[in-house]
């Protein structure tokens, strides 16, 4: 699996650390219920197929990226910088 880092170009996947689901939004600490935190911290959609997740180019430019890829075929559809992803998805992705 090669990740096309927007800063470094195509790099092998062992240069990266994976954090997980990028579509979630951290609950508002003032309003969130225990259930909101449970959903955010512990529960997962764990999709079979398309997934968007945070990858960290730890052994490269150290930028946070959002990688859209397929969990069955390992095909990578797109890689964008996390800060650009946040601009287009300010509230995460509505399910």
């Amino acid at each position: 699996m090669r990740i096309n880092c927007p800063y470094c170009g195509p790099r092998p996947n062992e240069e990266f650390n994976v954090l997980g689901d990028a579509t979630k939004t951290r609950p508002d600490a003032d309003k969130a219920t225990a259930q909101d935190w449970l959903d955010y911290v512990y529960e997962r959609d764990n999709p079979k197929g398309r997934l968007e997740e945070y990858w960290h180019h730890a052994s490269g430019c150290r930028n946070w990226l959002v990688v859209k890829r397929n969990t069955v075929t390992h095909e990578v559809y797109s890689v964008v910088a996390a800060r650009d992803y946040k601009k287009t998805h300010p509230e995460g992705v509505k399910k």
């Binding site: 997962r44 764990n46 997740e53």
Partner: protein, 416 residues
């Protein structure tokens, strides 16, 4: 047919042409008392113990592929009960006790071999941590021995004791741990369950559940609707997919774990040796191949294959600890899909839906747990309540704060 020296002699005299299949291939009935979704080791063991321990024989195991195609045929065959925490240790010890009597119980040679499991340590603090683990095991009535460097060297002289980065200080030994022939576990439980009246239905994929007034009444499958009073989910890496059909979201991520086998060699490694800090563990199969593995690839995956960087990492770690491996050829590598839970411990519980039960979250420790998982899941289904041994493996423990986190990594499944 009961397998014995007499059945072997009898079939030898007739040229081994009269052996019958180990289990039937029945068509599904209209209704079962219990349906188990997933014909892996845990599902088959559950059906076996439902029939044998609880007298519930009107049971079907539905497997989307063939028996042994999933993780029960993809693991590295290790059994042990060297856990630290109170919620885990009694369960895994019960599993090891079941392994010790399993072959007699289900009349199948699973090649249970208690050859000892050694965990290496490389510093004084790590020795303290392992001593603590060993003490915890002994307080639970489990065997554990802390080996110093000299005793360890007598047992496993081929290790690189003076490794520059990770010099070996000693090891924690559990003598009763060892290996089991994994395929035979699937076959033995399948045959044992079948003989007790359980229907094992292969190539039958569950596509949905049917509920009536908040209670499960059956499952939709590729072979049509099958009614059931109770349904147990035991789908391992696909637990999230199965639970989603029931509208549930799980504290689970699916990850790929790779394993490897080398060319066959003469007896070389007599025990199971784990090099935890380097993410490497190894044993030798009775056929002679070295069976070894490492850590998760680290990204979510449902593919039963991994990527090459992890192959390189595992082999490097292996050669660092066992330089003699460097000239041995790797024959095969493969991957399995792990149901990684948020605290690294499993879930065996009822769900919020009446008649629906769940068994998942085995991470990469599911094989050793196979008998006790089936035993406890059968108890939970039969009595509609968990057994004392799986009382800590609750589905809602993340809401109540009762996590069982052996490695202390928190909700980062790719690090457990």
């Amino acid at each position: 047919m009961k397998y014995s020296v007499f059945s072997l002699l009898k079939n030898t005299l007739s040229g081994h042409r009269n052996w019958t299949p180990a289990w039937r291939e029945p068509d599904p009935k209209k209704h079962y008392d219990v349906i188990i979704v997933g014909g892996g080791g845990h599902g088959l063991a559950t059906a076996y113990y439902l029939a044998r321990q609880h007298g519930i024989t009107n049971v079907a195991v539905l497997e989307k592929s063939y028996i042994g195609s999933g993780n029960v045929g993809r693991n590295t065959t290790i059994i042990r009960s060297n856990y630290l925490l109170p919620g885990n240790e009694p369960f895994y010890e019960w599993s090891l006790k079941l392994w010790e009597g399993l072959e007699q119980d289900f009349n199948f040679n699973a090649m249970v071999s208690q050859r000892g499991v050694i965990n290496l340590f490389h510093s004084d603090p790590q020795r303290d941590a392992f001593a603590r683990r060993g003490n915890s095991m002994r307080m639970h009535g489990v065997d554990a021995e802390l080996l110093d460097r000299d005793r360890l060297r007598e047992m496993v002289p081929y290790l690189d004791f003076d490794n520059g980065r990770f010099p070996i200080y000693g090891g924690l030994l559990q003598k009763r741990g060892g290996t089991v022939r994994h395929d035979a576990v699937a076959w033995g439980f399948a045959r044992g369950a079948d003989m007790a009246g359980v229907d094992i239905i292969q190539n039958c994929e569950v596509s949905g559940f049917r509920f009536d007034q908040g209670k499960v009444v059956g499952v939709e499958t590729s072979k049509g609707f099958i009614g059931a009073s109770k349904v147990g989910m035991a789908a391992a890496g696909h637990s999230g997919q199965v639970a989603e059909m029931a509208g549930m979201r799980l504290p689970i991520e699916s990850h790929v774990l790779q394993a490897f086998v080398s060319e066959g060699l003469k007896p070389y490694i007599n025990n199971v040796v784990t090099f935890g800090v380097g993410h490497f563990y190894i044993s030798q199969s009775d056929k002679g191949g070295l069976v070894f593995g490492g850590d998760l690839d680290g990204y979510n995956s449902y593919a039963q294959r991994g990527n090459l960087p992890m192959v390189e990492h595992v082999v490097e770690a292996g050669i660092a600890m066992m330089p003699g491996l460097s000239r041995i050829k790797v024959l095969r590598s493969w991957g399995g899909v792990m149901d990684m839970s948020m605290d690294g411990s499993p879930i065996i519980d009822k769900t919020h839906i009446d008649g629906l039960y769940i068994n998942c979250g085995w991470c990469y420790g599911g094989f050793k747990a196979t008998p006790a998982s089936g035993w406890c899941f059968a108890h939970t289904i039969a009595n509609d309540a968990p057994h004392e041994l799986n009382a800590a493996f609750r589905l809602n423990r993340f809401a109540t704060g009762d996590m069982i986190d052996e490695s202390g990594n928190g909700p980062t499944p790719n690090l457990h």
